[in-house]
């Protein structure tokens, strides 16, 4: 389990990092929880690693008005243990506490997880339900992309070459909103066979689903049914409709779809019970 040779740089500033990332063959390294294992298996072989995990500029959690701004380099544990996140975006707190184990959460970062776009990762379900926005930066440019456009396909995002996530922006949860993340755990990896993140209030419902298909998605059809019926079972019944379900030794496509329906129902019920 030894990677190919690579160069390693640990720039002191974001600007310096973006300059280095403009090089062909450069790849950003944050917590390394996905990239390093892939390199050890020689499934990834970047020539140059730019360590952005040490940049303080990317490590922050703050509330600005009705939005939470979380630096891409913030570790899962920092999000999980943040009182601000717990108070203002409890769905993130709950979701992040389901990621891997404490060692992984101590190293892995919110931006790294989003950029890797593992189809079974936990975070993307919450990003979809939260309609999170990603501030992307590259040398000489900056743009903001919403979750639905950011996740493109399995392990594929809207990130361009040389571009990294600088910040994740999520809404401050209003009083009266209940949230829940329900996950069926793959027993070997700890990833989600399916994971469903739900926000529900008297005004709206948002359902984000991970694990089922090639990428996490917002189940708008299920949201519409729930909005009109407030019936969790009816809404959950359509959550997997049209999804091109993954299939592997841990769960067949049909069982995954079944689980998506069950876990959606559970998440809707739990979130509704927390509306307060």
């Amino acid at each position: 389990m030894i990677s190919q040779q690579f160069e390693y740089s640990a720039p002191a500033t974001l600007q310096e990092a973006l300059d280095l990332l403009a090089n062909e063959g450069a790849k950003p390294l944050a917590g390394g929880m996905s990239l390093i294992p892939m390199m050890k298996l020689r499934l990834a072989a970047p020539e140059q690693l730019i360590d952005i995990g040490r940049l303080r500029e990317l490590n922050y959690i703050r509330r600005e008005g009705e939005q939470m701004h979380i630096g891409a380099g913030t570790t899962h544990w920092d999000v999980e243990s943040s009182p601000i996140v717990r108070a203002h975006c409890p769905l993130l707190s709950e979701t992040v506490s389901n990621i891997g184990d404490i060692q992984v959460r101590n190293r892995g970062t919110i931006g790294g997880s989003a950029a890797h776009a593992d189809p079974s990762a936990d975070y993307p379900a919450a990003f979809c339900a939260l309609e999170a926005q990603f501030k992307l930066v590259k040398k000489g440019g900056e743009r903001v992309v919403g979750a639905s456009d950011f996740f493109v396909d399995m392990l594929t995002t809207a990130l361009e070459s040389g571009e990294i996530i600088a910040e994740v922006i999520v809404p401050v949860e209003q009083r009266g909103t209940g949230v829940s993340y329900q996950k069926c755990v793959q027993p070997a990896s700890g990833f989600a066979i399916v994971g469903v993140a739900v926000r529900v209030s008297s005004e709206f419902v948002r359902i984000g689903v991970t694990g089922l298909g090639a990428k996490a998605y917002r189940a708008t059809n299920a949201e519409e049914i729930y909005t009109s019926t407030h019936d969790a079972a009816k809404a959950a019944a359509v959550v997997a409709d049209g999804a091109d379900s993954n299939s592997d030794i841990h769960a067949s496509a049909s069982y995954r779809k079944h689980l998506a329906r069950i876990y959606t129902q559970r998440a809707l019920k739990e979130a509704a019970s927390r509306m307060g």
């Binding site: 020689r42 069926c184 990896s189 030794i249």
Partner: protein, 777 residues
Amino acid sequence: MATTTITKTEKLVGKAMRRQEDPRLITGSATYVDDIQMPGMLHACILRSPHGAANIKSVDIAAALAHPGVAAVYVGKDTEKVGPVPCGASLPGLRVPHHYVLAIDRVYFIGHPVAVVVATDKYIARDAVDLIEVEYETLQAVTDPEKAIGPGAPPVHPEWPDNVAFNYHQEGGDVDTAFAQAEVVVKQRITSQRLIPSSMETRGVVADYNTGDKALTIWSSTQIPHLMRTLVAQMLGAPEHKVRVVTPEVGGGFGSKLNVYAEEALMGFVAMKLGQPVKWIESRRENCMCTIHGRGHVDYFEVAAKKDGTILGIKLKLIQDLGAYHQLLTPAIPTLSVLMMPGLYRCQNVRADIVGAFTNAVPTDAYRGAGRPEATHGIERMVDILAAELKMDPAEIRLKNFIHNDEFPYATGTGLSYDSGNYAAPLHKAMDLIDYHNLREEQRQARSQGRLMGIGLSTYGEICAFGPSPATPAGGWESATVKIEPSGMVTVMTGSSPHGQGEETTFAQITADELGVGIDDVIVLHGDTAIVQYGIGTFGSRGTAVGGTAVYFALQELKKKIKKYGAMLLESEEVSFSDGVCVDHKTGKSVTLAEIAGASHRAMKLPPGTQPGMVETYFWEPPNFAFPFGAHAVVTEVNRETGDIEIKRYVAVDDCGNIINPLIVAGQVHGGVVQGLGQALWEQAVYDDNGQLITGEFMDYAIPRASMIPWIETEHTVTPSPVNPLGVKGVGEAGTIGCSPAVVNSVVDALSTLGVRHIDMPMTPEKIWNLMEGARA
């Protein structure tokens, strides 16, 4: 000479004591193979087959050899003269493929070693492996053992197109009459899936050759240093006395290191060729692919019985997935299943037929329980199936069929002699602990509410304390040397080679009691052929029962000598020795062990016919195996929506004879149960039809974690073994053997209202959900 004595009266045997080995393990000051650093040490990396079956058309090593830092590259032709990886098992008509340390012209399983690169560091070695160009002609592979022996299967070894390595038949009693007289016959196909042993430390080898002495030292993470030395010396054509094998700390084995592997000889070969030390450390992926797997059974059971539940006869057709080669004990493992197939029941009429099937997969071999979990799983499932057929309570049918307490030693229909037993006792205790009768009432209520609650029992027996030498491939005795240094400090050298079983503690407890010294006055050495007399090793729950007994007998010899010196020093005819002092009861005078030890080394005067010094060695040959037993009881509930299984309670009552250290015994049971749960619920080595290992990493191979494990309630009954003076039986494998049938029985019980009769392992939620869906349809 003291006239007053401080006597040590507190006995340590039977006391829960923390392990002597733990401080170094917990604080990171232990030395594993990968911790060994030597000047000029080279590093090896192995190129392995990416195919399940292929012909090797060519191997081009030029680019790898030219890579800066590469010292050598060897391919199959270079190592052709190294002796084959040994198979120690012999069966009539056994087909044994020549197992080269590196493939010559064909690869037989994914991970099959093809070439080895040796370089100045491990990174260069790994990079250079990618520079070797191999042209393969891929062939059709077969990984399912039933398909392999069926029509039209591709031959694993072209010379044996039927893929049958052996057929083995064993029979006892009169099976045909038993089945003819039966009032009921139940049949079931039962599988025990392939498992990856997954020791925490992977394998690793360091080899160093002294060109002046022509002496080879091999450090290896193995369970059997002495046997490995004998066999690797043979493979390399090296004189055995100039080969030294050292096992530093071994981070778990579970049977997977009860073997001699190609890499052990290969590193010896490299060190001898280059005259420089070389290290190879197995990666986790290699460990999944290339270290032996366990289990791999397809069993067809038939049980004949009377309507009152009396078991009359048992038939078993066993298809063993052998993999592509025989490792050390591969073909012998299923024969242990046959020996154990009647379980704890008074049934003499047994017939077993084994077909050993070659497949394009890594060999199977001993994994915690080795043949006995498969047998126990089978018979304990069959007894439940019979009980269901006869609408009998599973506890009642077991109690009805148990061998009676007054029948021991009991000669089984498979040729064993069960040493001692009280089989109803742990079952009753487990039922009391779990409140069996009220549970059945609770279950009736749960069912009326539509909940799927299950209660499962297993009553297991096992063959432990391997074993009498005639029944063991390489000798079944064990050795011990005990020496008392001039200061009175005690050194024990055991031929068994503990690697997590805690014998540095239990052997010290035995020694401390016999000599009347403190536990810290005893040190237990093992695992170095240059220090320790020849020994067999640790496996088959034999460490304490055979190795500990050898220590006990060495101590008895030593005590005779102590008394001779004591009598001489006290100028007495008759002295006694206990609690660390020799006493002349006529005069009241005494002399301490330290004084005696000092006098024996100073040797100013010797007792008549006695040598100086204070050392005794004992090689103990056990007259029989020992046969522990027990009962596990498990309460489960199945989630109707998802098929998830929740273990509500787990009770394990084991009878391993006398207990030296209850803390260690509890730890062994816990660990065993966890691995049993792994098999019952999560673990499976999955190959696809091309021979690719789908579960080649912990991302897909689900070993249990602490968070997945229920509270395990352990209790014991104590039925001493008459086979050894310690009265111990063995407990290392008990948890694994008792666990899986109890869990499966519980879940089948939960689903029995849906008409479910059997579930194969692992009982994944999807499998359960499909069963429930099938029942709904």
